[in-house]
């Protein structure tokens, strides 16, 4: 029902999430991704959520936990492409996700991970 892909791009794992994610899908993603960070020695994780209609508290916590686990494995996480209506809803839900790196586009996210964020 959901399509999630992980592509290794230089030393960054580019994760694309699309469609309807069950809670189990989200947990599976967290486990697979954390294993991949360790086995690939990735320096960064870029999660593209532009294909998600909603992010509820379960998925938000999963994104937060992925970032926390990746940090322990020496990789930075950036979430990119969140839809504006999803951002509005998350704030109202009470989830501002402090500490989670964000960028608007995949390109901006890559720059952020490479430590060369373009001046805006």
């Amino acid at each position: 029902m959901s399509r999630t892909s992980v592509i290794e791009l230089q030393d960054v794992l580019l994760v694309t999430i699309q469609g309807e994610l069950t809670d189990r899908d989200a947990m599976a993603l967290q486990e697979e991704l954390t294993s991949s960070v360790a086995s690939s020695s990735a320096r960064g994780v870029l999660i593209d959520v532009s294909g998600l209609d909603i992010v509820d508290s379960f998925l938000a916590r999963t994104l937060h936990d992925i970032a926390a686990a990746s940090a322990l494995l020496a990789a930075d996480t950036v979430v990119v492409g969140m839809r504006p209506e999803v951002a509005i809803t998350l704030v109202e839900l009470g989830l501002t996700l402090p500490g989670l790196g964000t960028a608007l586009t995949v390109a901006d996210g890559m720059d952020k991970l490479n430590g060369s964020a373009r001046p805006r």
Partner: protein, 142 residues
């Protein structure tokens, strides 16, 4: 007062049913012209409450009513009913960050904030019904 136009029921017995509730809520909201932000809020609230029904209430059902207010505004009402253990301390359950299941504790309080109307009916040992209501706010037409 609200006229009820259609009623849709979804059983919540397993995890995939949370997805079914989200899809049913979105389809109905889209069909009467809720805006994208309104759709996102109500689908997110539906997701939180469906998960509560499954995790805390040991399953139950969602009843989704599409209606129309007296002024013609489309309304969507979602009632989540379980026959689980009920909620002993309602104030605590509605407190941000309180969770009895290791979650973030934002499901109930967050859904309440997202909704235009909120109602909680619970009895320890009998079960819980949580109802949220949404009204479409169409831009004024000139």
């Amino acid at each position: 007062m609200t006229d009820i136009l259609t009623v849709h029921e979804v059983r919540i017995n397993e995890e995939i049913d949370i997805v079914h509730v989200r899809q049913a809520a979105r389809d109905l909201a889209v069909s009467v012209g809720f805006s994208l932000v309104e759709q996102t809020k109500l689908v997110t609230a539906a997701s939180e409450l469906a998960r509560n029904t499954l995790v805390h209430g040991n399953g139950g059902r969602a009843r989704i009513e599409l209606g129309r207010a007296l002024d013609g505004t489309p309304t969507l009402r979602l009632a989540f009913t379980d026959t689980g253990p009920g909620i002993a301390d309602i104030d605590q359950a509605l407190t941000d960050g309180y969770s009895s299941a290791g979650g973030l504790g934002l499901g109930l309080s967050g859904a309440r904030r997202l909704a235009d109307d909120f109602d909680l009916d619970t009895e320890p040992g009998k079960g819980t019904t949580v109802t949220v209501g949404f009204r479409a706010r169409r831009p004024a037409r000139g």
